[in-house]
Amino acid sequence: MGGSFGTPHGGRPARVVGAALAAGLLLSGCSGEEDVPVLTWYINPDDGGQATLAQQCTEEAEGAYRIETSLLPADAPSQREQLARRLAAGDDSLDIMSLDPPFIPELAEPGFLAPVPDETAEATTEDTLEGALAGAMWNEELVAVPFWANTQLLWYRESVTEEAGLDMDEPVTWDQVIEAAMEQDKLLGVQGTRAESMTVWLNALVESQDTSILVDPEARAVDLETNFDTAEGEKAADIIGTIGTEGLAGPGVASMDENQSMLLFQGDNGSFMVNWPFVWAATKAAVDEGVLEQDLLDDIGWSQYPRVDEDTASAPPLGGINLGVGADSENQDLAFDAIECIVQPENQTEYFITNGNPPSSESAYDDEALEEDYPMADAIREALANAAPRPQTPFYNEISTAIQQEFTPISGVREDSTPAETDSFIVEVLRGERLL
């Protein structure tokens, strides 16, 4: 038992500590060794579709590789946060990443993403919808592979539009939508919470007037200019501000995200809503569970995103997911093989049916099975053809955060001041003169 103390060399306590630390090291998880290379696919939360695809492609690879999924946080900015930090850290486990398009430039600019090999590009993008393809490019290079594309439709309650005498086969404008809701004392489903959805909405309003938020998205931080302080910016602020000050989105607008606006739309005061297609699957599921009435589902219609000007086609939001490969991944070739497997059109179709996320490939829409689950598939394809991406700049996060801060709560948005303030705020933040 223990040496006597007072001797200079470490006695038992040191050994106890050492053993404890060693135990800690042992317990901190060593994975079993495998001969098959493991590709880690960082996925955004969905309904389990990506995990299924990972399994399918692992089986198809017949031992060439094994795909394991790892879940990222729920919202896009947090996903970006996690990935950007790890990419900057030179993490070699980032084999495949599900990336939200607006954050791609920031990751591509410093070379964090492995360039897409020509054969993969050819195999995966021959019939990709134009908007979706643009979101996967940076500096004229394909830096990620489009997996699915998303856009918003205008959803409406037929009972409300009939009452208002609107012909929904014709394009409607925001002014008409606002007027109809006001007249009938109904509420609009919009996303007024301080989140990425605010930028999505504002960008769609600006783009629907054939203008972009940024003058030159590829400008350096110190040279960046916005188009907010223009007639178009004011018109966009006017629409948002009117809905806010008139209380047209209900009392909970300040915390209203995609899901809350859907619940509002499903309620007695629902009238119109701009939202992603997931609302259809979610509403249908609620009807199947007996939570909602079948009458409600029958009362729901859809059309293209509302216009700002009567004569200009609307530019609905563009969302979706592209798959990128980390520049420090040790299995880049295998990762691109796996991506080719994942984004096959039939997989995209299947993913749409099971998870409600629309394909980015034109041909994936040709499947007969779609019509049954998504009677609006054609409307989605049309919307995707007109959809406009959010500004593609390495400073997207700052710009989006600034917009969210200035434009929420929407009851405080004023056409004569908010756009100008947002403009100077963004410019000063990017010059490092102000905090966000």
């Binding site: 410093p110 964090f112 009392p251 915390s255 619940l263 955060t401």
Partner: protein, 316 residues
């Protein structure tokens, strides 16, 4: 009460013994000391260094030395930095004040309670103490949330509260809930410290005051409180420093919207959200200096004696 004194060896010839005792002392106390310091001292030094650069993690090639520019940017930013500092101080002052009153009440109840119910009270009061702050934040958030809460429904008879009130949409209501969750979770801690302080008040003094016909209030103000001063001060300082670092519940409930941003959240958003390491480190350093200042003021002007109880040596 001091620990019993150690018998000393004879005087003289202590140098060898003292030396080996010192060595032994550092040998067994060293590891803990080293780990504590290495996890805090090194990173804060690194943060000070980083704060002198303009450096963004996603633009690794654009790193440049800017000396104090980051600090200038921060201090000249009224809308963000001073606002966050103000909110942080406001939350600190209000929560500590409320907790002191509530905690004292709880301590008195526990102190005077009958044996039969003391256990139950202690158990109940320890639940908020032990609960995860994030869980407490969610619990309060869901109670008041306009979509899933029941508070609006329960209290619709109160003027100003109806089913349309979104607690987290404007500053006064949002900060109230944030502070309520903070107070709920941390009052037990203060109550326990004060309970220990109450136990230290000599019974004979209180009895003597009673005999002299002092009213309950006089007993409080002239006997009990003066004798508890040290305990109260320590409790206040610890809680104030803790409240000044508030982060979890703001992050969960509002994430800084409705002007509820606090300093910790600003530091987090700048360095981890925006990946602006230089600017974020500067905010972190300022936060650290604020904590030091609070400590310094407390010790210098309020004579908080943190060293009480550190004297391990027996009375001579």
């Amino acid at each position: 009460m001091n620990g019993s004194s150690r018998p000393r060896g004879g005087t003289g010839k202590k140098s060898n013994r003292a030396k080996s005792e010192a060595r032994l002392g550092w040998l067994i106390a060293g590891p803990a000391f080293f780990i504590m310091l290495s996890v805090t001292a090194y990173p804060i030094a690194q943060a000070v260094y980083d704060s002198l650069f303009s450096f963004r993690l996603t633009a690794p090639d654009d790193r440049s030395f800017v000396f104090l520019q980051n600090y200038l940017t921060i201090f000249s930013d009224v809308e963000v930095f001073w606002q966050a500092l103000g909110v942080t101080l406001f939350v600190t002052v209000v929560t500590v004040a409320v907790e002191l009153v509530l905690g004292f009440g709880l301590a008195l109840v526990m102190h005077k309670a009958l044996k039969r119910i003391r256990g139950a009270l202690r158990t109940a009061i320890l639940v908020p103490y032990g609960i995860i702050t994030v869980v407490s934040a969610f619990a309060w958030y869901y109670m008041f949330d306009i979509n899933s809460g029941f508070v609006n429904n329960w209290f619709s008879w109160v003027p100003g509260i109806d089913s349309d009130l979104d607690w987290f949409a404007n500053f006064p209501t949002a900060i109230t809930i944030i502070m309520a969750s903070e107070i709920w979770k941390t009052t037990p801690f203060i109550a326990l410290l004060l309970l220990a302080g109450l136990a230290q008040v000599p019974d004979e003094l209180v009895e003597a005051a009673k005999v002299d016909g002092a009213s309950w209030r006089q007993q409080m103000t002239r006997v009990i409180l003066p004798n508890m001063k040290a305990a109260i001060m320590v409790a206040v300082l610890f809680r104030a420093l803790d409240a000044f670092r508030i982060f979890d519940n703001v992050f969960i409930m509002t994430n800084g919207s409705a002007n509820t941003e606090v300093l910790s959240l600003l530091a987090y958003r700048t360095s981890i959200g925006r990946l602006e390491i230089g600017l974020g480190s500067a905010v972190s350093v300022i936060l650290f200096i604020c904590v030091l200042l609070i400590c310094f003021i407390a010790i210098k002007f309020f004579k908080v004696d943190l060293a009480s109880g550190t004297d391990a040596k027996g009375g001579k």
